[in-house]
Amino acid sequence: MNPTVLAFETSCDETAVAVVRGTEALSNVLSSQVDLHARFGGVVPEVAARAHVESIRSLTHQALNEAGVHPADLDGIAATVGPGLVGALLVGHSFAKATAWARQLPFVGIDHMEGHLMAPRLQFDDFAPPAIALLASGGHSQIVHVRDWGDYEVLGHTIDDAAGEAFDKLARVMGLGFPGGPAMDAASDGGDPAAVAFPRALPDRPFHFSFSGLKTSVVTYINKAQKSGDLPPLADVAASIQEAIVDVLVNKTFKAVDETGARVVGGGGGVLANRRLRHRFAEEADKRGVQVALPDPVLCTDNAAMIGVAGAHWLSHGRISDWAENVDPGLALT
């Protein structure tokens, strides 16, 4: 059974709506608020919630139109239930529940992180458990052992900043602007990732991350280099910083692949859009003969198609949320 699902994602700063049939995205639209938040230097919850409520109705219309699906052809509705910003989550979740009730369709609330875990299914038919997945964004960094759909073991996570947060902070130090990930990726073009050896944190903890110390190292390094007058080109420093983050993410992810014997490795979250990380993923997978299932960048960053594929999965397994379901901003994978 391949249910056709209208899906909503409003956990942070993207208002996203998609139509998914089984594991195929028929449409995937979003209204990014990046420009809205850039002037504040980060996501402002109240600004995000205001923007969601203004755009969700027209985006829904657009998603159905682009998919060529009439609302009467829908089999169910899905929306992110958490984790995320409470005021932002409530807009998509409320709109979705009301839409489902109005059409008397089943509704299911979806864990945003499980959405990221299932996103590779939109492009890789054989992406199935057991698998290892790296989830890394502005809010999360974790390595997940997908033993089965719905059975997730978080092998490791960050003990301080998320990887995307580290990119934001470091990009700010470098004068590259917000959001930091794409800015650092672009600034690294043509740079030498081995130009500066920034430290790799937590070598003794196989699957955990720490990124907060990197900022201090970078600031100290730049100050020293400026004083002595031998500051390398921007591209070299950016590529070296990027390498320090990517290196630990990739090495620890593939250590998990080795230890679990997983034959496929996936990932999600904005950091998985990073070109250097994707390149390193492919290299490491090749060495081991395992399959990489990293979806296109637009499906790594927050989107509703991933909520739709998870929604289609759970609806076809008979999971239906109660009309009284509330959002859960602190939801964690179990």
Binding site: A38, S94, A98, T99, R172, M174, I222, L234, D322, E325
Partner: protein, 236 residues
């Protein structure tokens, strides 16, 4: 005309099903944080009681504020979802009007008060007319002292309704021309009446243009230091 009214702008959430001028069903719950868990089950309950199916709806009236931002957005998002499913209008109504309409009296000037946090209250002034009330002021956010000053400056008897329990104790002491009264929170039944008036006179915007009435900009300041910070290689 068959319509649903959704009221979630204050800690008191309620819904009502109304046909023309007759209320057929209503449900309410007082819980500041529970709007999202209350709303659809309450709507479902009322529809079952009345025997309507969702597609019978002809319009949705929703309280767009002023009030609690998150509650307003839960109500508006729900109204938008319902209305979009059937291509029917979303009729915005404001919390202070619903309060005044429910409090209507023969002769007193009515002041409505909605707690919008951070020491401020949304207030508006109404004059009773046969069969209802007429708003005589814009809706503004004020400190409690300003409310007292305005009531004092107004000749005649006043009735202060809404979330008066949140006003500082003794705010109106010595002001014998004014008395406080119910309702504390706007109610979907009164909101439906406000909305019906607007619907019948075609006084509502296109659904995409229905917006919450915040009366305040988001409480953030532009962080110039973060934006303008230049790196050692110049600005990005």
């Amino acid at each position: 005309m068959k319509f649903l009214a959704i009221e979630t702008a204050t800690p008191g959430a309620s819904v009502a099903l109304v046909e023309d001028a007759t209320t057929l069903a209503a449900a309410s719950r007082i819980d500041r944080l529970g709007h999202a868990t209350f709303l659809v089950p309450a709507i479902d309950f009322c529809f079952h009681q009345v025997g309507w199916s969702p597609s019978d709806l002809e319009a949705v009236v929703v309280d767009v504020g002023p009030g609690l931002y998150t509650g307003i957005r839960v109500g508006l998002a729900t109204a938008q979802g319902l209305a979009a499913a059937f291509g029917i209008p979303v009729v915005p109504a404001v919390s202070v009007d619903a309060l005044a309409l429910e409090a209507r009296t023969g002769h007193r000037t009515i002041w409505t008060v909605v707690d919008v946090r951070r020491g401020e209250f949304a207030i508006a002034r109404y004059r009773p007319v046969p069969g209802g009330v007429v708003r005589d002021s814009s809706t503004e956010l004020v400190k409690p002292e300003v409310l007292r000053a305005q009531i004092e400056a107004r000749p005649g008897q006043s009735l202060v309704v809404g979330d008066v329990a949140q006003l500082p104790e003794g705010l109106l002491s010595g002001l014998h021309r004014a008395k406080m009264a119910k309702p504390r929170y706007p109610y979907a039944v009164a909101l439906a009446e406000v909305g019906r008036g607007r619907y019948e006179r075609d006084l509502y915007p296109a659904p995409d243009d229905v917006r919450p009435l915040y009366l305040r900009e988001p409480d953030v300041t532009i962080n110039w230091a973060k934006i303008r910070q230049e790196g050692p290689w110049g600005s990005g």
